[in-house]
């Protein structure tokens, strides 16, 4: 099964998490572990939300909001796509992710993909 694993941070912590040079090496090591386990399909870090834009659909109108989104409780700072046997296996890998002790609260969210049977059911 494929899962997307998102790195989520609190808006006010974003500056410390995104582009943190000290985390590059432990992250490289972690990615190396994932690669050697054969589960890593894709990975990316995202630029800070200061460079982000949101398109907001509301009550039939469309507007654009510029970043940064420092008020946000959760900002996606990066993601991986893994192919694992079970969600529990993904949890065991996620648990091993290196963390920066100076950041207050971060989380990894594991989201399984819809598989073909789900999509088929939706189409029917």
């Amino acid at each position: 099964m494929k899962v997307m694993v998102m790195i989520k941070v609190v808006g006010t912590d974003e500056e410390r998490v995104v582009g943190n040079a000290e985390m590059l090496e432990p992250m490289d090591e972690y990615n190396d572990k994932l690669t050697k386990a054969g589960i890593l399909l894709d990975a990316a870090g995202l630029r800070p939300s200061a460079e982000a834009k949101q398109v907001v659909f509301e009550g039939g109108t469309t507007s654009v909001v510029d970043g940064p989104f420092t008020e946000a409780k959760e900002i996606v700072a990066g993601y991986w796509i893994w192919e694992v046997g079970t969600v529990e296996e993904a949890l065991e890998w996620a648990r091993q992710c290196p963390v920066d002790p100076t950041v207050g609260r971060g989380r990894l969210e594991i989201r399984p993909y819809f598989d073909e049977a789900d999509v088929q059911a939706l189409r029917d």
Binding site: K36, A37, I39, L41, D42, E88, E92, V119
Partner: protein
């Protein structure tokens, strides 16, 4: 959270390196696996009660190592082994070279091919006997016997726990890749039974392949095999119709191809080619699959490139199935009469006489040439040879439609 599922997941994630580290200590893969299994059972008993340890992999290794030391003390096995165990108290949970050695031992040529596949799934994939049995559609007792016999054979042959020497490496690596691809095709094409795709098994093979590619980055064929598996697997969802019937490449909804797998597969193919060594058969097959993956529509397929690649493959790995697939490329490049001439050259090959795709393709060519009655005969014969119910039904329908 379900503790049993957690223990299983932790086991799945760490068992290969755990067994690899233990094998280096006790010099016997069967014994190492027994100790690892002991640790797994201990985890099943303790973790639900006492909670999951902070370092579950370290916990499993420490526990397994303690069992190993206990046994060695009890049975007073040779002192040198005990000395080694004591020295290695600080060892980690399996280095890359230990993991690789484990793969090469599990796929050692003293074992039969089916034993290699079962042992690899067991030792490297962390699957239980029951899971392997389910995957290969055989009774668990058969797999259990196969695995214990394989372990005895390895011990009797005193197979060293090491990555092969450079001289032996090419042949030994071929054996490993063969096992990985065998596991993949077992999941991909389901040679027996009615299940068209057993995706889990194919995914396991792909993980094994990616692991090997990361551990042996200088070997182009490992990346070639990864690319081949991923590009084929990218079409899984589109390969099966609503009622489970197979959908031909030409008719597949390409929007349902898995773009993540295609991207990763094309990347692996590029890495294989970047090594600038002569292309091996897996890489050439991956290059063929890549021609399909890159074509937005069937009509956009670069058949000239595919035909050239099949010509190369016929030289590298001449097999009747390769020559049969080449016929399909001839059809696209030179038309049905040229393709019929090409397939008729294969007619006398006894390996193809019972292969349903021979009749399926020949029947299709006859149909394109307007020879309906002959086409119907050929398709009916092919239906009788089809290994799955879905393929049989599809071929019968095409046979009936031929003379309608």
């Amino acid at each position: 959270m379900d503790a049993r599922r957690t223990v299983d997941a932790v086991w799945r994630v760490h068992s290969a390196r755990l067994v690899a580290a233990l094998t280096r200590l006790v010099h016997d893969v069967g014994l190492a696996e027994d100790f690892a299994q002991d640790a797994y059972l201990a985890a099943l008993e303790q973790w639900p009660r006492e909670g999951i340890p902070d370092e579950p992999a370290g916990w499993l290794l420490t526990t397994a190592r303690r069992r190993a030391i206990d046994m060695i003390r009890r049975e007073r096995v040779r002192d040198e082994k005990y000395a080694l165990l004591a020295i290695d108290e600080e060892a980690g949970t399996g280095t890359d070279s230990e993991l690789l050695s484990l793969v090469f031992v599990a796929c050692h040529p003293v074992l039969s091919q089916e034993s290699r596949a079962a042992l690899t799934l067991r030792l490297v994939g962390g699957l239980s006997t029951e899971e392997i049995a389910r995957a290969f559609l055989v009774p668990p007792a058969t797999i259990g016997q196969r695995i214990s016999r394989a372990k005895r054979t390895l011990a009797a042959a005193e197979v060293p726990f090491a990555v092969p020497d450079p001289d032996d490496l090419p042949a030994r690596l071929d054996a490993v890749l063969e096992v990985v691809y065998l596991i993949f095709t077992e999941g991909h094409s389901a040679t027996s039974g009615d299940r068209w795709i057993r995706r889990d098994l194919a995914e396991r093979a792909m993980r094994l392949g990616r692991m090997l590619a990361a551990l042996m980055p200088a070997e182009p064929e490992v990346n070639g095999l990864v690319a081949l598996m991923e590009l084929q697997a990218s079409r899984f969802a589109a390969r099966v119709g609503r009622d489970g019937q197979p959908v031909l490449l030409e008719d597949q909804d390409r929007a349902r191809w898995d773009r993540t797998l295609i991207a990763h597969g094309l990347g692996a193919l590029a890495r294989a080619r970047a090594l600038r060594k002569p292309l091996g058969p897996y890489t050439v097959q991956a290059a063929i699959a890549a021609c399909h993956a890159r074509a937005p529509r069937f009509a956009d397929t670069d058949w000239n490139a595919i035909l050239a690649l099949y010509d190369a493959l016929t030289q590298l790995a001449p097999s009747p199935v390769v020559r049969l697939n080449r016929v399909v490329a001839v059809l696209q490049v030179d038309g049905p009469q040229a393709a019929l001439d090409a397939i008729d050259e294969l007619r006398d090959d006894p390996r193809l006489s019972r292969y349903h795709l021979f009749g399926a393709i020949r029947g299709d060519l006859l149909l394109r040439l307007g020879r309906h009655a002959e086409a119907a005969d050929e398709l009916e014969r092919a239906a009788g040879q089809a290994p799955t119910r879905q393929e049989r039904t599809l071929l019968m329908e095409r046979a009936a439609a031929a003379t309608r």
